[in-house]
Amino acid sequence: MIIFEHVGKAFADVVAIDDLSLTIAEGEFVVVIGRSGSGKSTTLKLLNRLVEHDSGRIVFAGDEIRRFKPEELRRRMGYAIQSIGLFPHWTVEQNIGTVPELLGWPRARIRDRVTELMELLDLAPETYRGRYPHQLSGGQQQRVGVARALAGDPAVLLMDEPFGSLDPVTRETLQQEIVRIHKASGKTILFVTHDIDEALRLATRIVLLDRGRVVQVGTAREILEQPATDFVSDFVGRGDIGIKLLGLDTVAAFVRRGESAAGDPIAISASLREALSMLVARRVDRLPVADDDGRLVGVIALADLAKPRP
């Protein structure tokens, strides 16, 4: 559990974080979002003491973080930033093995851990183990960055716009993978981004910051359906709120079982947003729905999309 209690931080005379209070339970995927200069990166750095807080308390694992040695605290929290943070003079294997090495793991265990993580992040170990960061694509570099953050098996993962420099397709693949890793490992993740779609896709809870203050904390649905202020509505994109809400649900919620329709089916795991897009593109009001094995199970109807969730 991580607790921020009335935390404040100022750089010179500029207030970066103003009275921040937030409790993060174990296993949450919290996305901190805001415009540049809103204090979102600072929030992350306060936690691993790259930036020291001026006032208030920050508690990690039952203790105020100042009671830890900074290095020990940091080794218990994975830290991933944009790909430029990889060590250019070390191989992929050395990069991923950084924290286990610091923790003094035996060589064989480090090697096994690196192999395991490379497989987890879809990097063929024998091909990429000995490569240097500059020999990898942007997406591969970022995979190494995530693997490196996970290597010491930390209780908490801190990620500062880790996918910021990637193209949309690669970014989406990595977003799916981090969700998968979160579900499989149950790790607490604190993730910073300025991209609202990324936040909606990843977060179990979103923290929206503006000029160092928390504007709203809630699930994606709460943020979209009950924006606390005009600022929130503007930030999530007033005109797109309906579309974004559709993105939170899957076809499964509205499928009319037993009915049938013509044309290629849509997967039951697809989002309602994709269903709407397909309905509009084909100029139809009903689509057949197939389950994960490809069997037709029913239809999704245009008229149902505007209804409240069953």
């Binding site: 290095e71 294997e93 050395q94 924290v99």
Partner: protein
Amino acid sequence: MFRTSAVKNRVLLVLVIVGAVAAWCLAFLTVAPNRLVSGTAIPLAQISDPLRDVLLLPAAILVLGVFLPQRGRTHVAVAIAATLLLFGLAWLAGAHAARLAETAVATSRTALGGGFWLLAIVAWLAAIDAIERLRRGPVAAILAQLSVLLPVIALLFAGELGQLSLLREYATRKDVFYVALARHVEIVVAALLPTLLVGIPLGIALFRRAKPKVPVFAVLNVIQTVPSIALFGLLMVPLALLAGALPGLRSLGISGIGMAPAVIALMLYSLLPVVRSTVAGLDQVPRPVVEAATGMGLTRAQVFRKVELPIALPVFLSGVRIAAVQAVGLAVVAALIGAGGMGALVFQGLASGALDLVLLGVIPVVALAVVVDAAFRLLSSYRGTPAG
């Protein structure tokens, strides 16, 4: 617009033209009745030796290399032809000098002429250029460029060049030569080691604290602009006074002339490249890399040792390389204040008008500079995998 031209390699074209002019218009060798008067020219055309005509073959390959498509095979052929040409030129000069020595009086000297030197440089540059064009990485290129000189060095050791005036000068001054060479290396090493010991910590300190950076670099820059002779002279006075005031210093060998002012002056000159490259090397370590390292739990010392230092190393080494090559050259001037070294031969030769003696002093300095340069380039191109 892209234009296909018959000339495929312009660098080689220029070299071939310069080489042709040198071969036709300049003296290949000069012959003088003794070592002090200037001799009469012997152009290449007057040397009737079958070897001379054999050399037309590698020369022809160089000419062809200008027009052939620039493939790997062409570059290899040009590099080999240029190496053979260099070797052949030296052999031809040595053989002709030996032939002349059989009939001439003992004091007569056969010296290498401007034509030889120019042709030799052309051949060496052609080889270096061809090796660069092969793009085989820095290590292979440096080793290949040095090995171009190996056949000539072999000739030298085989005694084939013994009758050339340069080597006769060497033969009569063997003892002085090696003492001077050892002293030269001694001056350079004695200046560079303390420079590194002072310069690296100074560079690191300036990198950590930006404020004193500007004044310190201003001072180092000013030192760099003082002409070397003036700096040697400037140091003589205070050192002489110091040695006079503190007899203990004099017993350590420190005085107004000799090694002490020379070493101190070279240190002052070397400090700027060493400090600047230390700061520049550390400055170009990307901030996010340092932040990531800190964020993952490396201590301040570990960040420095495992991340900043290795990333800064290539830039740092290039600065030390510049300092070392510069010191090898500047140490020649140190002879003026009685420090000895190869400069002693150079200035003695200049004073007595013996060009061969000047060359005997200069050529080893150039060779030393080339070797030091190559050694540092090899060192900085080596990308070791640091122990994790």
